[in-house]
């Protein structure tokens, strides 16, 4: 008997485990478990312990299962005719006890499992239970207390998940705008922005992306430096800095001069190498417009908004100190920093001036390339200046957009369309708003004979071709947008124009046809067309024309955006 054997030879423990084992089969067929047990054992065979516990073997002699020992087979509770001892009986009873206990344990376990399942179901259905959007009355209760940021954050995340699966997750009777209004309010509270800025971001990005953007704008971007190739090589510089105790890496594969600083024991802006002009502190985003401009040695280049001189010095280094660079900025205080940087980095071919950008080209014209890193609202560099969150308003954005249009007109007019090597204008801002980026570019396409060309940057998102009710020219796809939460760079925008001719696309009445392109004299209908091949205009008029167009673009803008799309869509 299995039980007998285990009772005598093997410890209780194994008996318990055995009964545990058997209790499994117990669940299936309580009466038969002895059967199955003895069945199992021959198959397991091998180990001496098993052998000792092997009943059938013993009695049948060979391990083969026979029914000769049927007498053994005991219905639970019945004592067979085998002559059970007291011992046996006791053991049996014990086993029965253990059996029973095992069965109880089993049953308990089952019950537990069942309950756990039910709870899981309940929880799941709880989760599935809709997120409750607080009503106005409930929110009014919050007026007294300070809502903890974690609660705000939870609510924000819940609303975002509801919005992404709106059909199923919405509460009855609450509209989408209820959710978005609450989201705007919560984001504004949580991150500390003006509500109109949050509304602006939510218009541009999906709620989930907007949250990522806002999160990224709270954290600083990595510190980056640019090697000054006029004085040092990147490898040597990296070695020298590592020796000083600065942990760094090459910036990435698209830049041959950038270095990313991880950590440093010494101030990066005060090393002897810095003072000797071997490198310049410059963010990765700021390198992109100059890479796009790609000036060549010997050209005439204008940097319209140069201070504090990071891009100007990069331009000079790409030109190998040959040619002429005019570095202009409106504010003389900031321009002094440019002068200092120019000297520190050993730049020789730059003249630093202090003029209003829109005074070009009257002051000086006929450049091969112009870089306009326009003054902007700075929505892409909030991580550097948190005060932008509360200082910038939509009104500010409108104002900077107006200024940018004015400056870009001046920039395009200052470029020589017939330049042998250039004719390029690069427009860049450190903002992510469409009003300051695509809209300004679109305005330009309608005002001057320029076309967009590929920005020449190996990454970045394409510019928008449509936004809300506005539609932009398809070539805006070639402009590039950078986001802090996608590229780990400052929010930035770069657009590269090529000037086709010096013609202006409006003022149809007073055009003077001094020169004409081969495509022949197209008439005033060209005003709306965004394509090239139009006649040249008199260069001398550019000065006055700049003023005229600057005043007009209010109406011209509407013309371009609404009508131009139709014709462009047809023509493009």
């Amino acid at each position: 008997m299995a039980k007998k054997r285990t009772g005598t030879k093997v410890a209780k423990g194994s008996a318990a485990s055995k009964s545990a084992r058997s209790s499994k089969s117990n669940a299936r067929a309580p009466k038969r478990y002895e059967d199955e047990e003895s069945e199992e054992e021959p198959s397991s065979g091998g180990s001496p312990l098993q052998a000792s516990m092997d009943d059938s073997d013993d009695d049948s002699g060979n391990g083969a299962f026979t029914d000769d020992n049927k007498g053994w087979l005991k219905i639970k509770g019945n004592k067979g005719p085998d002559g059970d001892d007291e011992e046996d009986e006791e053991e049996d009873e014990e086993m029965d006890e253990i059996e029973r206990k095992a069965m109880e344990i089993d049953a308990e376990k089952e019950l537990e499992a069942k309950e756990a399942q039910e709870e899981l179901q309940r929880e799941r259905s709880d989760k599935n239970s809709k997120f409750h959007l607080p009503t106005a009355e409930e929110l009014a209760l919050d007026d007294d207390r300070v809502v903890p940021p974690s609660e705000l954050r939870d609510r924000i995340e819940s609303i975002i998940s509801v919005l992404s699966n709106f059909k199923f997750d919405r509460e009855e009777g609450r509209s989408r705008s209820d959710y978005t209004t609450q989201l705007e309010a919560d984001l504004s509270d949580y991150f500390g922005y003006l509500p109109e800025l949050i509304a602006l971001f939510l218009k541009m990005l999906s709620p989930r992306e907007a949250l990522e953007f806002l999160d990224a704008s709270d954290k600083p971007r990595p510190l980056v430096i640019r090697t000054n190739t006029l004085k040092a090589r990147r490898k040597d510089l990296a070695q020298a800095l590592i020796k000083r105790g600065i942990n760094l890496d090459p910036l990435s594969n698209w830049s041959k001069v950038g270095l990313k600083i991880y950590e440093s024991t010494v101030p990066v802006g005060a090393t002897p190498e810095y003072l000797a002009g071997h490198y310049m502190l410059q963010s990765a985003a700021s390198m992109c417009p100059v890479m796009s401009l790609s000036p060549l040695p010997g050209e005439r280049v204008l940097d319209m908004s140069a201070a504090p001189g990071g891009k100007t010095t990069y331009i000079a280094q790409l030109m190998k100190n040959q040619g002429v660079v005019v570095a202009n900025d409106l504010k003389s205080e900031r321009q002094k920093a440019t002068v200092a940087n120019l000297h520190r980095l050993g730049v020789r071919n730059v003249v630093a001036v202090c003029n209003d950008g829109s005074s070009y080209p009257k002051v000086m014209g006929n450049f091969d390339r112009v870089l306009l890193d326009a003054p902007c609202s700075g929505l892409g560099v909030i991580s550097r200046d948190q005060s932008i969150k509360v200082q910038r308003t939509v009104r500010d954005i409108e104002r900077t957009a107006h200024l940018q249009k004015k400056l870009l007109l001046a920039a395009v007019d200052s470029v020589n369309a017939k330049s042998k090597t250039g004719g390029i204008v690069v427009y860049s801002t450190c903002s992510v708003s469409v009003q300051e980026n695509e809209q300004v570019v679109q305005y330009m396409l309608g005002k001057r004979d320029v076309k967009l060309v590929d920005a020449g940057l190996p990454f970045g998102q394409e510019g928008y071709t449509r936004y809300q009710e506005r539609r932009f020219h398809p070539s805006l796809k070639m402009t590039r947008r950078f986001y802090p939460h996608v590229h780990n760079m400052d929010g930035f925008y770069v657009a590269k124009f090529k000037k086709i001719s010096n013609r202006k696309l409006e003022d149809t009445g007073k055009e003077e046809e001094e020169e004409e392109e081969e495509k022949g004299g197209k008439g005033s209908k060209k005003k709306k067309r965004v394509e090239e091949e139009v006649e040249d205009d008199d260069d001398e008029e550019e000065g006055s024309d700049v003023e005229g167009s600057a005043g007009e673009f209010g109406s011209a803008e509407l013309v371009i955006d609404d009508d131009d799309f139709d014709s462009a869509g047809g023509g493009a």
Binding site: A276, V324, H343, G346, V351, A352, C354, N355
Partner: protein
């Protein structure tokens, strides 16, 4: 913006030749392109011809800087050399002093170079001769005047001054305003 007068040129060259001697000619007859000196608001700029031509149309009140600023004329009409001229001067310098890494930072703070910080020195530097100070990696750090001639410097005690400080690149941080 105007060219320098004869007197001003004389003073300028006197100062420069203390550091670069006869190489002053090289400054004017630059092999790659002809350069000239121009004066703007008492400051002397070393500019290439093409840059001068390009800047002629710009209204001179608005020009802050042209090419490389070498220094300025003081109220008493003496010429003071600025650190911004270092790149050009160190190329043509006659007398050089190499400073040990231990004394680098001290010099960059505006102190003189003691004997203990002296790495190397060109031979036959006259006393009070103009000297360009370099780090051991040949990176120009600034300029000064030799306190003693080379021979005497060899016998100097460790605390004695070898170079009297006149200008160093640390000024880009310390006196940013003066650079313009």
């Amino acid at each position: 913006m105007r060219p320098l007068t004869i007197d001003e040129l004389k003073k300028l060259f006197e100062k420069l030749s203390k550091y670069i001697g006869k190489n002053v000619e090289h400054l004017l007859k630059n092999p790659s392109e002809a350069h000239a000196f121009r004066l703007q608001k008492d400051r002397v700029y070393y500019v290439s011809e093409s840059l001068i031509k390009a800047s002629q149309s710009l209204p001179s009140e608005t020009i802050l800087s042209l090419g490389t600023c070498f220094g300025k004329f003081t109220k008493s009409k003496n010429f003071k050399l600025h650190i911004t001229a270092l790149d050009v001067i160190s190329k043509y310098a006659l007398y050089k002093v190499w400073v040990k890494p231990s004394s680098e930072m001290q010099f960059l703070y505006g102190n003189n170079v003691p004997k203990s910080g002296l790495g190397r020195m060109t031979d036959e530097v006259p006393q009070y001769g103009g000297v360009v100070v370099l780090s051991m990696n040949d990176v120009p750090l600034g300029f000064g005047v030799a306190a003693q001639s080379t021979g005497q410097c060899k016998e100097l005690e460790p605390t004695g001054n070898v170079v009297l400080h006149q200008g160093d690149v640390g000024e880009y941080l310390r006196t940013e305003d003066d650079i313009y």
